[in-house]
Amino acid sequence: MIAFEGVSKRFPDGSLAVDDFTLTIPSRSTTVLVGSSGSGKTTLLRMINRMVDPTGGRITIDGDDVAKLDPVKLRRRIGYVMQNSGLLPHRTVIDNVANVPILDGVKKSEAHAHALELLDTVGLDRSLAKRYPAQLSGGQQQRVGVARGLAVDPNILLMDEPFGAVDPLVRDELQQELLRIQRELSKTIVFVTHDIDEAFLLGDQVVILRTGGIVAQAGTPAEILANPADEFVASFVGAERGRRALHIDAEHGDRVLVDGTGRVAGVLTDGPGGMAGTAAGSAPE
């Protein structure tokens, strides 16, 4: 369990990025922090692994105040995945994935063997192991980033807009892979995004932030959609404009769903799943 207790962060330049933030992040589930750019998401995430130290309040992991832990050791036991993969460009794929275990003193041969297994886990072909990051597509780089984040088998995985820079088809695919990985591994994932659809797809708990790291609403996607706390949340999730209210529109045939703005939103199918996933499954990498 990760707990933020009245956490604030004022940067040396005076800007208050996070103001009195309190949140409990349960273990073995995915919590998504969602908010527009500048709302303090990255700052919040980086306070967990002490890349940023709070100027007020405290953060605990399973009851231990992180301020009392050695930052380098702490970071090595927490996976971190960021937007532009953050892979070391001078290391091959396999060396990138094995990087943290080797820093931690694991034998190179052992770390490499495990790294190959992790490539399988994230759905990457082992033949890519000797390539450099620059020789991979954006989507493949993000997969390597996830594999690296998993390499020390951390309890906690921090992900900062990891799929923000890949094209929509690849993003769908990566999101599905993450859901699958999470079903298998049940990590405590803290995931940051500005995309509300991504938040609702991945989050067990979704936390909607205003500027200054103020919690506008926290809850399951269903709770938030059914009962937006205020107009800000309603507008953020698109309920206000009727984007979430679907109805069958006779004009388009009796199976076509249309949202409140008049946009064709989907097709009513017989079973769960239906056509879903087939388009993403054949997406080129």
Binding site: M51, K73, Y80, M82, G86, L88, Y132
Partner: protein
């Protein structure tokens, strides 16, 4: 040509002297300029001072430097050490700005991510920042290498032997072949050093080559 064959022994000896004078300043210059450049990159308040000093050092005329060093260092006037120290000063002056730029050019994302995955400051310097600064450092080192090999000839003016001797002697004797031999020798050494540096770069920075190839391919495809 007959002069070259007849004097091959001397040409070879002076070539070796020239190399022996050139290599230490290039290496020392690198070893001194890299930490200075890193400090300039890392600590903004020192940046101006370090880069300005580097620029000023380079403007000291060579001959003045060689004549004043014995006084400062307490060495004999003919001691090759004077040339090595003088050349090292020029090498540092040339390289320190490039070194600062090289560290500046390391991607902030990569730096952040190395912090995030648990690199401490020392290993981060040696295993992330230094290698990633490598391509720019190498380009600076190639300039320093060529400049040093050429400037070492000035040492001949104070009697420290190098291929520069052929310039002086050839001038005195009004014998162009000898001057020409000196020039060709200097160029050959400079080219060989440059090839060696490129080779070392290929071995130590294989990823940079890959990245460049990709860039070139990308540009080709876009065109």
């Amino acid at each position: 040509m007959t002069w070259v064959l007849a004097n091959f022994g001397q040409i070879w000896r002076l070539t070796l002297d020239h190399i022996a004078l050139s290599v230490p300043p290039i290496l020392l210059g690198f070893l001194i300029a890299v930490p200075l450049g890193w400090i300039a990159h890392r600590y903004a308040p020192f940046r101006g001072a370090i880069l300005t000093l580097g620029g000023l050092l380079y403007t000291i005329p060579g001959i003045a430097l060689f004549l004043s060093l014995p006084v400062i260092l307490g060495t004999r006037i003919l001691d090759p050490i004077n040339v090595v120290v003088g050349m090292t000063i020029y090498a540092v002056a040339l390289l320190v700005r490039t070194a600062a730029d090289a560290f500046d050019a390391v991607s902030g994302d990569v730096r952040q991510s190395s912090v995030a995955i648990g690199y401490g400051p020392v290993r981060r310097f040696f295993e992330v920042e230094l290698p990633l600064a490598g391509p720019v450092l190498l380009s600076g080192l190639r300039v320093v290498s060529a400049s040093t090999v050429s400037l070492v000839t000035i040492g001949s003016l104070i009697g420290v032997s190098s291929l520069g001797y052929f310039f002086l002697n050839g001038l005195n004797r009004r014998f162009p072949t000898e001057i020409f031999t000196g020039i060709v020798g200097v160029i050959v050494i400079a080219v060989v050093f440059d090839l060696l540096l490129v080779l070392i770069g290929r071995l130590l920075l294989p990823w940079a080559h890959v990245a460049r190839q990709r860039e070139r391919r990308g540009r080709g495809a876009a065109a």
